[in-house]
Every structure is written in structure tokens, then in C-alpha cells.
């Protein structure tokens, strides 16, 4: 089964189990406001920390709901653009499930300064280190997949490589924040902001852009301007890092989150972030424009633009209702590139 499908299974597991707790939390908050039951209001005997427990029991798995599909996309892309089967296929598949399960054990690391019991905090910090392990397995497996592959440095691959670098930083800073003693200082500072932007924007959004570029020819039958795509990718990468890298330093020096005014010492960092944001924004704007333009003036894409061997590349373009006329029979290994029909990578659609 392609690893994107494994990633979606794990995501579905998280969605089914975590979202109802969000539902009941929101319902209880509504009741609290409507008829003052006192479940979270300290004036009425309630405990706001209980609200935090309920909220983060959902919200931590929620971030994995967001990131697991991104991991799935990257797994597919590194394989296709290195034309090599994934290194550690089983490891990556099971690590998706491991992330899904372990992510339910760590929610307290968002509450280290909330006033919960020290012993609970020890437990949460300890368990947070474990959730990094399956993620690291994925990161290293992807790099090992690229090693000695037939690497095509096209735009989806550039986005993927950017992801691998940015996610490494994002993931590692997450582990730093998971350490209880360090987090007591970094909680609610720009260090946290930088961390989650590295994983949310730098990783999830970049993986989304990578997937967009990768499957664009399959979805719309046209190719975008590859040169512009490469320029946009580099611009986004540079802009992103200029925006968010200074925020790590700023946060560790104490700049809090959600403050409109701050001491002059932090001004250079904020200015750097602003400049970076402008660069990042122009990169994204460029990306959107050539993608939209390709719908009108794009060249016809090839039937199998990148030479993938998974089922998504065997449907016609655009895929008809239910994708295939008959349910396809899969007889080969999932990333077996010996089955690749090279002619299809050179034959335009239609």
C-alpha cells in the first residue's frame, strides 16, 4: 500500500478518537457560558486546568492530524523523484501508526506553566521525547531513499528537499520545547511561534506545495513554467527562513507571544521577520500566478510526467468518476520501478 495511504489511515485514527473530546469540550464551554454550571469557572468551583486538559487532549493529536498527510506526500515524492523504492518502507508505515498512538500520551507538554502537578509534568515531558522517535525514523528514511537515487531536481523535488531541511529544524526545536525545564522559560515566547511555524508552514505547507506541483499535471493535464517554479521555491525557502529563524533567538531572549509592543532590543528581529515575510509572500504570489496561468496557457503534460508507478499515475487525466473503469489489480510491489513504462513519461496526454 502506498505510504500516503498509510499516513491517511493513521490520520483517520487520530481524527476518530480525538475530535469527540473537542466536541464535548466546546459543548461544556457553551453550557458554562449559557447557564453557568461552573465546570471551568473558578468562581464557581471549576478548574480551568481541566479545560486545558480536555482542549489539549484533542489539540495535540490535531497537529499530528495536520502533519501526517504531509509526511505521506513527502514519502511519495522522495520515491518518485529519486526513482527509487522507499528506504525502510515498513518502518515508515509503522512509524505513522506509532505517531498516532503516542501522540495521545503527550498533550500535557502544552500545559507546563498551567499549574498542573509536577509529577504529571515529568510524565508528559518524558513521553514527549518518545514521539520524536518515529518522526526521526521517517526523516532519516527519506534521506536514505534519496541517497544514490536517480535524483531529478525538478520543482516538486526542490520543495521536498526544502521540507527535509526545514522539518529537521522544526522537529528538533519541538524536542527542545518538550524538555520541562527549558519549556518553563520558552513557553509563550517567540521560540514556540518559530517552532510551530517551522512545522506548520515550513513543513506542512511546503509539503502541500510539493504535492500540488507533483500532481498538477495529473489533475489538470497541463504543466506550469518550471523555471518560475524553481525561482518561487527558492524565494519561498529564503523568505521563510528569514522570517522565522530570528524568532528562535528572539524567543529565547524572552520576547513573549501576542505582544504588540516590546523593548527596542527586539526591534531588529521583528524587522528581519517583516522583510522575510515580504519575500515569502512574493514567492507564494509568484507560485499562485504561474499555477493559475498554466491552466490557461500551460503546455500539455505527459501521461506519466514524473515516472511514478503507483496507481495515481495509471488513471487517465483527468481521472473519471471512480478513477478506473474496472477495479485495478495490483500485482507488483508498491514502489517497483522496473514496471515503469518510460514511453508514458514522454507521451503527452490526449
Amino acid at each position: 500500500m502506498p505510504l500516503f495511504v498509510w499516513a491517511l489511515y493513521a490520520t483517520a485514527l487520530l481524527q476518530v478518537l480525538a475530535t469527540p473530546v473537542l466536541g464535548i469540550t466546546v459543548l461544556l464551554v457553551a453550557f458554562e457560558r449559557l447557564y453557568h454550571i461552573g465546570i471551568f469557572d473558578p468562581r464557581l468551583g471549576g478548574d480551568p486546568v481541566l479545560f486545558e486538559h480536555f482542549f489539549w487532549f484533542y489539540s495535540h493529536p490535531a497537529v499530528y492530524i495536520m502533519v501526517l498527510p504531509a509526511f505521506g506526500i513527502i514519502s511519495e515524492l522522495v520515491s518518485v523523484h529519486s526513482r527509487k523504492p522507499l528506504f525502510g518502507y515498513k518502518l515508515i508505515a509503522f512509524s505513522s501508526l506509532a505517531i498516532a498512538i503516542i501522540s495521545f500520551l503527550v498533550w500535557g507538554h502544552h500545559m507546563f506553566t498551567s499549574g498542573q502537578s509536577t509529577y504529571a509534568m515529568f510524565a508528559f515531558s518524558f513521553l514527549t521525547f518518545f514521539v520524536a522517535i518515529p518522526t526521526a525514523i521517517k526523516e532519516f528514511s527519506w534521506v536514505a531513499t534519496i541517497w544514490k537515487g536517480s535524483i531529478a531536481l525538478n520543482s516538486p523535488m526542490l520543495y521536498t528537499l526544502a521540507f527535509l531541511i526545514i522539518f529537521a529544524i522544526g522537529g528538533l526545536t519541538g524536542v527542545i520545547l518538550g524538555a520541562l525545564n527549558v519549556d518553563l522559560h520558552l513557553h509563550d515566547t517567540y521560540f514556540v511561534v518559530a517552532h510551530f511555524h517551522y512545522v506548520m508552514m515550513g513543513s506542512i505547507a511546503l509539503a502541500f506545495f510539493a504535492g500540488l506541483h507533483h500532481w498538477w499535471p495529473k489533475m489538470f493535464g497541463v504543466m506550469y513554467n518550471e523555471t518560475l517554479a524553481k525561482i518561487a521555491c527558492v524565494t519561498i525557502f529564503v523568505g521563510f527562513n528569514v522570517t522565522f529563524l530570528p524568532q528562535f533567538e528572539m524567543g529565547s531572549q524572552g520576547m513573549p507571544r501576542r505582544y504588540a509592543t516590546y523593548v527596542p532590543e527586539f526591534q531588529p528581529y521583528h524587522s528581519a521577520s517583516t522583510v522575510g515575510a515580504i519575500i515569502l509572500g512574493s514567492g507564494v504570489a509568484l507560485m499562485v500566478s504561474y499555477l493559475v496561468a498554466s491552466l490557461f496557457i500551460g503546455k500539455k503534460a505527459m501521461q506519466n510526467q514524473w515516472g511514478g508507478v503507483t496507481l495515481d499515475w495509471l488513471t487517465p487525466t483527468p481521472p473519471p468518476l471512480e478513477n478506473f473503469a474496472h477495479a485495478p489489480k495490483v500485482t507488483t510491489e508498491v514502489y517497483d520501478y522496473s514496471t515503469l513504462d518510460l514511453k508514458s513519461t514522454q507521451t503527452p496526454i490526449g
Binding site: 464535548i24 453550557f31 454550571i37 461552573g38 464557581l44 473503469a325 474496472h326 477495479a327
Partner: protein, 253 residues
């Protein structure tokens, strides 16, 4: 299997009082349809467990924080009514299981009868619940008409008075007669949990009525009893939740 000329799979009716069932076009076989629907429904039941589970977590949390309040509060609930309600729901679970079995064996009248008995159980449950809530209002432990009134806060001390908790008979007190800490909290949680459960009872009863409509038309038989089965699962879940609610709220204190 799709729209390339293949005919959809039809399960024939086992008798003149039934109608045949056409398998939904995105399934290849009736067995696949059955298993997919069942899995989907069990996934939904898993989410319901987590939904109510959050309420139970809140209960355990505050029970641990205010043991006296919860002990005295629980004593205000009538355990006999609770026991009757438990038995009613257990019986209705039995009638529902029998109803599903009647559908599986193509016995139209029996299916109708058992479904009707299940709805009757739901109605009895809600009636008893109504009387329980009425008693709470009369004792000032949860005055429903004043539920949405504003919480009157007294300026500096953040103290206030809750419109719906008046404790007319002054029952929420400890041995010395001093008011218990946050006596309203027990009843707030009690009403929240039982009201959300009651909502599920009403929804379940509605679903069973919908099933009865289908039974009357002869849609459910040995070849296709899936909706009856799934609604039955929902009803058993409602019973399941009450099995835990009853001792927790009424008996442990």
C-alpha cells in the same frame, strides 16, 4: 464495478410482504456493503464513547476534588427511580436485540412489535427523567426555568449567586451545617450528563420510529436488515452509557 454496463446487485425479497434491496452502486457485493456499513458505524460509536468519556472524566475529576459535595449531592438523587430507569433501558435493549433478530428472520410483525416496545421503553425513561428534573426544580437544586439567568457577581470579591441553585431545603451542608463547597457543581454535572444522555435517548427513539416506517413497507428482511442492526447498535450504546451513569451518579455516594 461501475457504470460500464454492469447491473447492480439486487437482493431478492423473501416474500410478497417484502421488497427487494438494491446494493449501493459503489459496492461490489452485499457482503461488502454490510461490512463497510458496520465498520463505519462502530467507528461512530467509538466517537460517542469518547464524547461521553469526556463528561465522565470531568465527573471523576471533580468527585476527587470535592468528595463531600459529591457524596451529599448523590444522596439527593432518588436511587429507586434510577434503578427503575436502568431496568427499563435494559429491557428496551433486550426488545431491540429481539427486534433485530426478528428482522434477520424476516418476521415483519414481530420486528414491528419489538421496535414499538423499545420506543415505549424510551418514553417511560424520559417520563421518569422528567419527574426527576421536576423534583430537582422544586428542591431548588437545579431550577430549570432559571437556567439561563445571568450569574450575579458581587463586585470585588468575585462572589455571586447562581439563579438556578437555590437549595430550598438547605440540604447541601456538611455535619456542622455549614454550606458545602460548591454544592451546585454536583447538580450541574448531573444535569449536563443526564440531559445529553436523554438527548441521545430521544434521537434513538426517533431512529427506531424511522425503522418502524421501513419495516411497515417491508424493506427489512433476512437479505437486508442492515439499518435495523445499526439503529440497534445505537440503542445499545445509549443503554451502555446509562449502565455507567446510574451507579456513578446515584449509587456511589
Amino acid at each position: 464495478m461501475s457504470h460500464d454496463g454492469h447491473h447492480s446487485v439486487v437482493i431478492p425479497a423473501p416474500g410478497p410482504e417484502f421488497v427487494p434491496h438494491t446494493v449501493a452502486h459503489h459496492f461490489d457485493t452485499p457482503v461488502q456493503e454490510f461490512q463497510s456499513a458496520k465498520l463505519g458505524f462502530w467507528l461512530f460509536l467509538a466517537t460517542e464513547i469518547l464524547l461521553f468519556g469526556g463528561l465522565f472524566a470531568a465527573y471523576f475529576y471533580y468527585h476527587d476534588l470535592y468528595p463531600e459535595t459529591f457524596r451529599v449531592g448523590g444522596q439527593q438523587l432518588d436511587w429507586k427511580l434510577g434503578a427503575v430507569n436502568t431496568s427499563v433501558l435494559l429491557l428496551s435493549s433486550w426488545t431491540m436485540a429481539m427486534g433485530v433478530r426478528s428482522a434477520q428472520t424476516s418476521q415483519k410483525q414481530k420486528t414491528m412489535l419489538f421496535c414499538a416496545l423499545t420506543v415505549l421503553g424510551a418514553v417511560i425513561f424520559m417520563v421518569i427523567k422528567f419527574f426527576e428534573y421536576k423534583a430537582k426544580t422544586e428542591h431548588g437544586l437545579f431550577v430549570f426555568p432559571h437556567m439561563f439567568d445571568n450569574y450575579q457577581v458581587d463586585g470585588s470579591s468575585n462572589a455571586g449567586s447562581l439563579a438556578w441553585f437555590t437549595d430550598v431545603h438547605n440540604v447541601m451542608v456538611d455535619e456542622t451545617g455549614a454550606p458545602l463547597l460548591h454544592g451546585h457543581l454536583f447538580f450541574a454535572i448531573y444535569v449536563t450528563m443526564t440531559a445529553i444522555h436523554g438527548l441521545h435517548v430521544i434521537i434513538g427513539a426517533g431512529l427506531i420510529l424511522w425503522i418502524m416506517k421501513g419495516v411497515a413497507k417491508g424493506r427489512f428482511h433476512a437479505g437486508y436488515y442492515l439499518p435495523v442492526d445499526l439503529v440497534g447498535l445505537y440503542w445499545h450504546l445509549v443503554d451502555l452509557i446509562w449502565i455507567f451513569l446510574f451507579p456513578l451518579l446515584y449509587l456511589v455516594p
